[in-house]
């Protein structure tokens, strides 16, 4: 058996010719295989990624054109594919336009939809004020309960996203942008917090640690039993539903549609 005992190591093999698409303006580094093999974490940090420069599909395309059979075969042979995503790399003009729209979006978040304003509007089905100061219990199973509550708002579990201790749910908007809900159980799995995200190609808004208690600006709530999870998530859903149908709806319209072929 072989080991590679380096604290950090990265190998990037560039200049691959993946497909028969025309990518004349792509740098050699855009078509590459990258291997990271670090030994500084207890579980060992080992990553393998392949990057493929793709031609820009026409506007009416609903999916990206298929890669060549040869490329597909090579990519499959490299290992078990975990995620397949698209990154849009923008030129300076495009970046400036996105930054301009995002600045207007952030202004909206800081004024109309500030935490203070949202706090005053929220009315929760469960009063959790007393329970907020209780102690959490370690390792209460939560996926089944969270899934059953959040699915009522139309969100699907995204098992390939997030990290250990986090459950991620998502749905696409009418504009093919994406709403993402993250439930984070914290480092020691004692509590639960919730982040609401809206993202599209080249932009993202993150409403982290949303509240679930009256007069609160944001909560990380201690979890003592399954019943508490259900109540906390039901309260979180009040804020999620409000953000989705007001604040994030406006932001979604502000940025406009993402291409139909865009993969998250």
């Amino acid at each position: 058996m072989h080991f590679y005992p380096c604290h950090k190591s990265l190998f990037a093999f560039c200049g691959l010719d993946w497909s028969d698409e025309e990518n004349n303006d792509s740098a050699s580094d855009d078509n590459s295989i990258i291997l990271v093999n670090n030994w500084w974490t207890p579980k060992r940090d080992i990553l393998l990624n392949a990057k493929i420069a793709r031609g820009l599909p026409s506007v009416d395309c609903t999916t990206l054109p298929s890669l060549s059979k040869d490329t597909k075969e090579t990519l499959t042979n490299l290992g078990r594919i975990k995620r397949d995503t698209i990154e849009c790399v923008f030129n300076e003009d495009e970046k400036n336009k996105i930054a301009e729209v995002t600045a207007a979006g952030n202004q909206l978040l800081e004024t109309t939809y500030s935490r203070n304003n949202i706090m005053e509007l929220m009315s929760y089905p469960f009063d959790l004020r007393e329970k907020k100061s209780s102690l959490g219990e370690h390792n209460i199973p939560r996926k089944k309960t969270i899934s059953s509550v959040i699915k009522k708002l139309g969100y699907k579990h995204l098992p390939k996203e997030g990290f250990s201790g986090m459950l991620v749910y998502g749905k696409t908007t009418e504009n093919n942008n994406r709403m993402v809900i993250e439930f984070d159980s914290g480092k020691w799995f004692y509590d639960l917090s919730c982040n609401v995200i809206l993202e599209g190609p080249g932009w993202k808004y993150d409403y982290s640690h949303i509240p679930c208690v009256e007069n609160s600006l944001g909560d990380t709530f201690p979890i003592s039993d399954v019943e508490t999870i259900e109540k906390v998530v039901t309260n979180f859903c009040v804020v999620i539903d409000y953000l989705e149908n007001n604040c994030f709806k406006e932001l979604d319209e502000l940025h406009g549609p993402a291409p139909k072929w865009y993969l998250y």
């Binding site: 190591s9 190998f11 990037a12 200049g15 080992i46 990057k51 975990k82 790399v89």
Partner: protein, 124 residues
Amino acid sequence: MKLIQHINYSLNKNDKIDMILDKIEDALNRHRKEDTKNYFFISDSSSTYEGSVSSVSRILKKFPELMKFEIVLEENNPGIISRYKALTNLPSHNKFSLYPEFNGKCFEDVGFEVLKKIALLPLP
């Protein structure tokens, strides 16, 4: 706008580095253009202290021709500046942003066979 498709693979500690490299080599043989480059970055821990085993030194002992790629990195922790060794041919401001900015001194290519031998060095 350019599009980059990212394929991320699922790996764990049971995936042997030699088997992964064999698969990469197969992909390079099938798809690589001529005149392209292998980049690498290998470093010790910033907490590597004097007298402890340095991975970089072990590699240089076996492959002295890589001496030209050796750089010293600094990490500023509260009250202590740690200095540790690294080997790299990455230019600064590179696309592989997992690592801090640094000033490399040699940007020549290193063959896949050499990188593979380094990767397969056994534990001390």
